[in-house]
Symmetry: C2
Subunit: 148 residues, 2 copies
């Protein structure tokens, strides 16, 4: 992936700017791969993320603020994200009995089943995205990311 070639510029870009731009280009590519992979399941990356968090709850229901806290990309509107998952039958939402301000969100059986399929697909996509990168380099990347 050559930055200058992709954004079709002749002049060379300062190392700092180049790194940021390069970062964004890789990000675009990753996002595209992932959302393509999720398209057949009719969920966005954000929605997948919510389902995954709910699975991590092991049956314990989550409320909106918990979801928001744990999401990779925090959104300003988790309510409507959940709305869409409800519409698809992947989760259900009830008002929390002990505190009626809160809601309890749970994976449905369908949601669990679909999530399992999505996760398998995601594993493949991750492998394909990272196929040219060694374990050692992955560690290296994680260490570098720590410095941001």
């Amino acid at each position: 992936m050559n930055v200058e070639q992709i954004i079709k510029t002749g002049k060379k870009i300062p190392l700092e700017s180049r790194t940021i731009i390069h970062f964004m280009l890789v990000n675009n590519k990753i996002n595209e791969s992932i959302s393509n992979a999720l398209k057949p399941f009719d969920v966005s990356l954000q929605q997948f993320n919510v389902l995954r968090i709910l699975k991590g709850q092991n049956g314990k229901p989550a409320n909106l603020s918990t979801l928001n806290e744990r999401m990779v990309t925090k959104m300003s509107n988790t309510t409507r994200l959940v709305d869409k998952l409800i519409l698809k039958g992947f989760v259900d939402r009830i008002i929390c009995p002990s505190n009626r301000r809160k809601v309890e969100i749970n994976l449905t059986a369908v949601g669990q089943k679909e999530l399992a399929k999505m996760s398998a697909t995601m594993k493949k996509v991750e492998k394909s995205i990272l196929k040219k990168i060694s374990k050692q380099e992955l560690e290296q990347l994680n260490n570098l990311f720590n410095k941001f």
Copy 2:
């Protein structure tokens, strides 16, 4: 930046998934910094990118497809992006005399002046984003990004 801590999960994440998630977290952080920095100028990152491309043209006008080709994040609707820049007085758009299907987009004097200010701000933001990262590590990052 500790991934597990940020997304508040107890279990450890497989290295591949962790890298992707880590990547997204860094991306969010970068985007936030940049859009905050651009907010005073009332432009989005995409709009800034278009202005920068136009500057790179050195007075030569660009048409929409050229812009699209050179944008870091390709958009499905560059027309309306340009509309917004016109509204702000940063660029103008005329129909290309030699081929009336095309348009010619140019930086205005105001656009040039504002872009200079934005660029100065962006330089600072980049420095601040990358302040903990050495030149050598930047090279390393760029090399790793090449493998995506």
